[in-house]
């Protein structure tokens, strides 16, 4: 992903981080209705899993079409251990993270060992996600086609908050954490190495960077975040099945929010997620005619790409001297 603008962005000042955090914390108090809090939860949720995509796709330039694999694995991992072994869903969060990281590592090692890049890597991730979907549809432990319904036991200890705001603050903490990870990546040597890999892998190798190891590392982190997102989703909706867990919908969504917002930027996924959630909600009210809402949604996507090729972040970074969009062939 040649978001050259990203590498030329100066690191975000602490004041901006704190302001965004303050707005996010204030949100459910300013808009306490369940509808708005739900909106906030979903916006932050997609920002969170979008960040998972962004870390590997935006920062490291490893485009993926199968990121839902981490999400699904995390969702099933935490749900299965909860329902079969009575393990608390709070523990399910790190378990899901580990599961996601594991799958991320496996896919990374296999794919990067074989030297896959660009479209090839993107397509193989799609295939892995599809394999997971088919398998989860056929084996008993995942409930097969019937899916898994988490028994309703309202209580914070079961990660089933009585009020939506409970979920909101949880996902806020998670999203903030993912932003922190992204920020750390941007400022650290690791991030610089990833940027070098993103720009030109061969040059990076020539500079002495262990490209393979760094790419695997970034997929581990990305997978972990995706996995945690899966656990959260399962707890929020209390039902998963192979299509929900591994369907291409979420892969597309994760990719979209990051790219529309600005791939390779710390707040890209959040910006993209909020915008797309708004567009989706607004267009959905135009539902008298079947399909009209999504026509507008699709049209808007095309328009945004047309005018803001680097994503919405362009609106914010124009003044900061966004870089040229180079064409990598």
């Amino acid at each position: 992903m040649t978001s050259a603008s990203a590498s030329e962005l100066k690191p975000i000042p602490w004041k901006l981080h704190l302001s965004v955090l303050a707005v996010a914390i204030a949100f459910p108090f300013v808009f306490p209705s369940s509808f708005m809090v739900n909106f906030g939860v979903l916006a932050l949720f997609y920002a969170f899993i979008g960040q998972s995509w962004n870390i590997s796709g935006g920062f490291a330039g490893q485009l993926s079409f199968g990121h839902v694999a981490f999400f699904g694995v995390g969702a099933y991992a935490s749900t299965i251990v909860q329902m079969r072994y009575g393990i608390s869903p709070w523990l399910g969060l790190p378990i899901a993270g580990l599961a996601g990281a594991f799958v991320g590592g496996v896919i990374a090692v296999l794919s990067f060992r074989a030297g896959l890049k660009g479209s090839y890597f993107a397509l193989i991730t799609l295939a892995f996600a599809e394999v997971l979907r088919i398998v989860s549809n056929s084996i008993g432990i995942t409930g097969g086609g019937l899916g898994l319904l988490i028994p309703m036991k309202i209580g914070a200890e079961n990660l089933q908050f009585a009020e939506r705001s409970g979920f909101y603050f949880l996902i806020l903490v998670l999203a903030a954490g993912s932003v922190a990870v992204a920020e750390w990546m941007q400022r650290s040597r690791f991030g610089a190495q990833l940027a070098a890999i993103r720009e030109n892998e061969d040059s990076a190798k020539a500079l002495g960077i262990n490209v393979f190891a760094e790419k695997v590392k970034v997929m581990l982190i990305s997978g972990a975040i995706g996995g945690v997102g899966g656990c959260f989703f399962a707890q929020y909706f209390l039902y998963i099945d192979p299509l929900i867990a591994f369907g291409t919908d979420k892969s597309v969504e994760m990719l979209l929010v990051a790219m529309i917002g600005g791939a390779g930027t710390v707040y890209g996924p959040l910006v993209g997620s909020v915008l797309l959630a708004l567009v989706s909600d607004v267009t959905r009210t135009l539902t008298q005619i079947q399909g009209l809402s999504l026509v507008l949604y699709g049209g808007l996507l095309v328009v945004i790409i047309a005018f803001l090729p680097n994503g919405l972040i362009d609106l914010f970074s124009r003044k900061r001297g966004g870089g040229k969009a180079g064409s990598k062939k």
Partner: protein
């Protein structure tokens, strides 16, 4: 297992593969030349299939005959889409074109929903259920026809690419864009032509598929993943690859279903996809990068 059943499964697989080949051939051309993964491919196939459906139900034109209308129509659509939209928005970044084709596919699918409504439709023509005996298998005539025509079209496309001036220009642009420009080839026009041909193949595929299949706004999804697998297996940019890849995938799906069950059997396609990418990413006949 009965040898007859295995033989019949092989025949069914090959016939199925013929369809996949045709759908994949457009995709592989578009990728080979424009280096874009055409996410809109599935929805374009759907549009073409609706075209065939309405040509039959409103004007009484036989689906096979409508091919002569659909192919040029889809070519024109592709050409104009490229010139008017995709080419303009590409501004050099591959990933953005991806998003454009993704946005396009959402747009088109839901426009179809708005205008054609969500129901699935099938057609019935006089030869829909004519069965032909092929070895141990009974095969519906339309399937045989689509196999034969798909192979013929791919051969024709291959010849076009090899022998004609435009074809040579296309190959030049696919291989070395800047160099092609330097020798005076209008690269943008070649891109538009390639995208047009890519969609034209879908016009043919639609004509061949309607007697066998069904059409609905979301029918594109049913073939997209398989088409990608064929392209990757055969090698991006290779027509021979699309043919061989399509047949292999058809056989895999057929035998996978036979031995693993039709649900789990689908895994064969994804596994092949993964294995090819891991061990031979350029595919069977693709150019080694």
């Amino acid at each position: 297992m009965d040898a007859n059943i295995i033989a019949a499964a092989a025949i069914n697989g090959l016939l199925l593969g013929g369809i996949y080949t045709l759908v994949a051939s457009g995709l592989t051309l578009i990728y080979g030349v424009l280096h874009i993964i055409n996410f809109a491919h599935g929805s374009m196939l759907m549009l073409a299939m609706f075209g065939v459906y309405y040509l039959l139900t409103l004007l009484g034109i036989d689906p096979y005959l409508s091919m002569f209308i659909m192919v040029p129509a889809m070519f024109l659509l592709g050409y104009l889409l490229y010139k008017g939209l995709i080419g303009r928005l590409s501004s050099g970044k591959d990933e953005n074109i991806l998003l454009v084709t993704l946005g396009l596919s959402i747009l088109i699918e839901n426009l179809a929903l708005m205008f054609f409504k969500g129901d699935s439709r099938t057609i019935l023509v006089s030869y829909s259920d004519t069965m032909i005996e092929v070895g141990p298998a009974f095969v519906p005539l339309p399937k045989l026809i689509s196999f034969a025509v798909a192979m013929a079209l791919c051969a024709a496309l291959g010849l076009f690419i090899q022998r004609t001036d435009t074809g040579r220009a296309i190959r030049a642009v696919a291989k070395e864009r800047v160099g092609a420009q330097l020798v005076g080839i209008d690269v943008d026009r070649i891109f538009a032509i390639s995208y047009g041909i890519g969609l034209a193949t879908l016009g043919a595929a639609a004509s061949l598929m309607m007697p066998i299949f069904y059409v609905s706004p979301t029918v594109g999804h049913v073939f997209v993943l398989v088409a990608f697998t064929v392209v990757v297996l055969g090698g991006m940019g290779s027509f021979l690859g699309a043919v061989v890849g399509g047949l292999i995938i058809g056989l895999t799906e057929s035998f996978g279903g036979l031995f693993l069950g039709e649900s789990m059997g689908q895994i064969g396609i994804s596994l092949i996809f993964i294995l090819i990418l891991l061990f031979r990413p350029s595919g069977l006949f693709g150019a080694k990068t």
